[in-house]
C-alpha cells in the first residue's frame, strides 16, 4: 500500500501546442491507473497553473465552436469532477488583472464538489516539495 504523488505544473498559454491539453488529460488518467497497480496502491496528480499558464483558466472558451476541439476550460472541469486538486497562482492572476470571476472555479453543473483553489505561489512551492515527481508543461 503506497502512494506516489505527481505534481503537474502548467506554465504556458493554451492552444499553441497540445502542451496544456496533454497535461490535463494525463493528470486525469491518474484516476484509472489502478488497473496496473496492486490493491491499495495509488498515483495522485495535483495540478498548478503558474505564469502565463493561468490564462488556461479563463471562462467562456469557444474552442469547440470555433475549431471542434475540447477547450482547456472543459478539461479543467473534468479535473474537478474527478476530485483532482487544481491550484491557480494568485500573484499571476493579479499580474494579469484577473479575479475569481474571470476564471473557471467550479464544475457545479456536472455535480463536482471540488473547486479551483487560488493560492499564493508559496503554496505551489509546498506542493512541489511534497510530491514525489514533477512534470512541467
Amino acid at each position: 500500500m503506497a502512494t506516489t504523488k505527481l505534481g503537474f505544473i502548467v506554465q504556458r498559454t493554451p492552444y499553441k501546442s497540445e502542451n496544456t491539453k496533454l497535461a490535463l488529460t494525463h493528470a486525469i488518467s491518474s484516476q484509472s491507473v489502478e488497473v496496473y497497480l496492486n490493491d491499495g496502491d495509488l498515483v495522485t496528480a495535483d495540478i498548478a497553473f503558474v505564469g502565463d499558464g493561468v490564462l488556461n483558466c479563463l471562462k467562456n472558451q469557444k474552442a469547440m465552436e470555433k475549431y471542434g476541439l475540447t477547450s482547456t476550460e472543459s478539461h479543467i472541469k473534468n479535473c474537478l469532477l474527478l476530485d483532482l486538486n487544481v491550484m491557480v497562482c494568485k500573484e499571476d492572476l493579479d499580474k494579469f488583472g484577473l479575479s475569481e470571476n474571470d476564471i473557471v472555479m467550479d464544475a457545479e453543473e456536472f455535480g463536482a464538489d471540488m473547486t479551483v483553489k487560488v493560492v499564493p505561489f508559496s503554496e505551489i512551492t509546498k506542493m512541489m516539495e511534497d510530491v514525489n515527481h514533477l512534470l512541467f508543461f
Binding site: 498559454t13 493554451p14 492552444y15 499553441k16 472558451q61 469557444k62 470555433k66 494579469f96
Partner: protein
C-alpha cells in the same frame, strides 16, 4: 513595401518586428498572438500596440481563448475572410514571425 506581419505568439522569441521597415505596416494577431490585443500585465497593455501600425485580431482565436470581451480599442476584430481580403487588397507581402 506594404507588409502584413502575423504575430502568432504572446512571448515572442525574436526581435525582428522592431526592425522591420515598411511604408504601410499591418500587424495581424492570430493564435496566441491575440493575447496582445487583450492582456494587461500590471495594468499595462502590450507594448506591441505602441507600434505605428494597423492592428487586427482574429475573432475565432479570441473566442477560442475566452477573450472576446476585452479587446483594446486600437485593434480591429476580423474574420478569416477578412484576412484573405487584407492579404490581397491592402498588403503586398506577408510574414509570419
Amino acid at each position: 513595401m506594404k507588409l502584413a506581419v502575423f504575430v502568432s505568439d504572446y512571448r515572442l522569441n525574436v526581435d525582428t518586428l522592431d526592425r522591420l521597415k515598411a511604408e504601410k505596416l499591418g500587424i495581424i494577431l492570430v493564435q496566441n498572438g491575440v493575447y496582445h490585443a487583450t492582456a494587461k500585465e500590471n495594468g499595462a497593455a502590450s507594448s506591441l500596440l505602441n507600434k505605428s501600425a494597423d492592428f487586427y485580431a482574429l475573432s475565432d482565436d479570441l473566442e477560442t481563448r475566452g477573450l472576446s470581451a476585452a479587446v483594446n480599442s486600437k485593434v480591429k476584430v476580423i474574420s478569416y475572410g477578412d484576412i484573405v481580403d487584407l492579404m490581397f487588397n491592402e498588403y503586398d507581402k506577408n510574414v509570419w514571425l
